[in-house]
């Protein structure tokens, strides 16, 4: 099962691509990227709220494993969201 792990943090970049070693070594990391600040919506207006600063796309057996793997990543002061990817 695939999960998109969305990281909201005020930490310096690179962040997602820096803390993905353990996921890669475990063979579950499919993709990771850091995102620059300055999110805009479809009309070009700057959006507010805690910025999404990076993501990990992982392939694991189930939700519990996704949670456990993300829990091990030493990420202080950030909000992580774990979303299952739909198979359509």
């Amino acid at each position: 099962m695939r999960f998109l792990v969305i990281v909201r943090t005020a930490a310096e970049l690179p962040f997602a691509t820096r803390y993905c070693d353990a996921l890669a070594r475990a063979g579950v990391l499919l993709d990771a990227a850091d995102l620059r600040a300055g999110a805009v919506d479809g009309n070009g207006r700057v959006t507010t709220g805690a910025p999404v600063r990076g993501y990990w796309l992982i392939d694991v057996r189930d939700h519990a494993e996704a949670v456990e793997r993300v829990r091990r990543i030493p990420v202080a002061g950030c909000v992580v969201e774990i979303r299952p990817v739909a198979v359509v």
């Binding site: 890669a24 063979g27 993709d31 057996r61 519990a64």
Partner: protein
């Protein structure tokens, strides 16, 4: 009740994530993979008793390893010849405090690699290697392996017991082989991983929900191995092959379950993320500048299709050339037959027919329905319809697949009009 279930789910997940590392670390101390696995299982039992009550520890992997090592010490104490071993293990227990897991990744990596090489040791039969690998490296339960291979739990349990015994009797050392031995041993590891992948991918015997799980597990093992042995081109070759094949899994069957041939697949349904990963793995293999191995060549073949946005964009000349390389590396009439198809696509049906006629006498192809079927196709394209019809009829008589037989008989009938 709900909390207990959720703890159990966590324990399941922790076990899948940590068991291989626990077994590997333990095997380094006790020098016996079978014993290491038993002790790890004991630690799991302890976790199932304690965690629901006391909560999941902060570093569950270290907890499991420490608990398992303590059990191993007890176990060996109870046995006769414990002196030196106990000393070693005792030291290990003190050294590995639960917080010491960072910074020893290299050591863990070596242990994991040793575990892979041991589980896939050539003294074991194929089935034993597969079962042991899934159990010890994949963290699968015996009943999960049984379900995946459509055999009974007892059969798998026996397979594993016998395999562990065979390893002990053969005195297989717990280490990463070196020198000339490495190549053969690595080939055995790669073979096991690819077998697991194919068992999930080909679904020859029914299709069970465990099947996609096997593909995913093989891919994961391959990626782990690529991290552990990054200088082995064939490892990247195998990963590339599996990623690209897996990218087609949604497109390779129609909604009613009928298989869809590669050239007829809807390429929009390919998983382009996996295609990209496969091509990247292939580049890593190429960058190592080693002589091409069979997995690399098969991956390169798969990549030819993956790079073509439309079937008509396929680089058949490159495919024909790659099949020639593959035929040299692992000679097989089936590879030659594929080469014939590629030749006909690249240079016309006459070129394909020439090769088919050359290999038609091969023993391995007698009774193989694809030989007359392919030959019929070439003949039809050359306008030799009578001969083509005879070949299609011959092929129809040889295939055991009802759907395919109908298809071949239709093609034979079409030759008459």
């Amino acid at each position: 009740m709900g909390a207990t279930t959720s703890v159990h789910r966590t324990i399941d997940a922790v076990w899948r994530m940590e068991s291989a590392k626990v077994i590997a670390a333990l095997a380094r101390y006790v020098r016996d993979v079978g014993l290491a696995e038993e002790m790890a299982q004991d630690a799991l039992v302890a976790a199932l008793e304690q965690w629901p009550v006391e909560g999941v520890p902060n570093n569950p992997g270290a907890w499991l390893t420490t608990t398992a090592k303590r059990r191993a010490v007890d176990q060996i104490r109870r046995r006769e010849n414990f002196n030196r071993k106990v000393e070693e293990i005792g030291r290990g227990v003190r050294e590995s405090s639960p917080d010491a897991s960072e910074g020893v990744e290299d050591e863990i990596g070596d242990d994991l690699l040793s575990l892979m090489f041991t589980a896939c040791h050539p003294v074991l039969g194929t089935e034993a290697r597969v079962a042991l690998t899934l159990k010890m490296l994949g963290g699968l339960k015996t009943e999960e392996i049984a379900r995946a291979f459509l055999v009974s739990d007892t059969a798998v349990a026996q397979r594993i017991v016998r395999a562990k015994k065979a390893l002990a009797e053969a005195g297989v050392p717990f280490e990463v082989p070196e020198g000339p031995e490495l190549a053969a041993r690595l080939a055995s590891v790669l073979e096991v991983i690819y077998l697991i992948f194919n068992e999930g991918y080909s679904a020859t015997r029914g299709d069970h929900w465990m099947r996609p799980e096997l593909c995913a597990e093989a891919l994961r093992l391959g990626r782990v191995l690529a991290e552990l042995a990054p200088k082995e081109a064939e490892v990247h070759g195998l990963v590339a092959l599996m990623e690209i094949q897996a990218s087609r899994s949604q497109a390779r069957t129609a909604p009613d379950g009928t298989p869809v041939l590669l050239l007829e697949q809807d390429r929009a349904r390919w998983d382009w993320l996996l295609v990209g990963r496969g091509l990247a793995a292939l580049e890593r293999a190429e960058a190592l500048n080693q002589p091409p191995g069979p997995y690399y060549v098969q991956a390169a073949l798969a990549a030819c299709h993956a790079r073509a946005r439309r079937p008509e964009d396929t680089d058949w000349r490159r495919i024909a050339a790659l099949y020639e390389v593959l035929a040299r590396l692992s000679p097989s009439p089936v590879v030659e037959l594929n080469r014939a198809v590629a030749l006909s696509m690249a240079y016309g049906p006459a070129a394909g027919l020439a090769l088919v006629d050359e290999i038609a006498g091969a023993k391995a192809l007698q009774g193989y329905h694809l030989l007359p079927s392919v030959r019929g196709d070439f003949l039809l394209k050359l306008g030799r319809t009578d001969e083509a019809r005879a070949e299609f009829e011959k092929a129809a008589g040889l295939t055991r697949n009802e759907r395919e037989r109908t298809l071949l008989l239709d093609r034979a009938a079409a030759c008459l009009t």
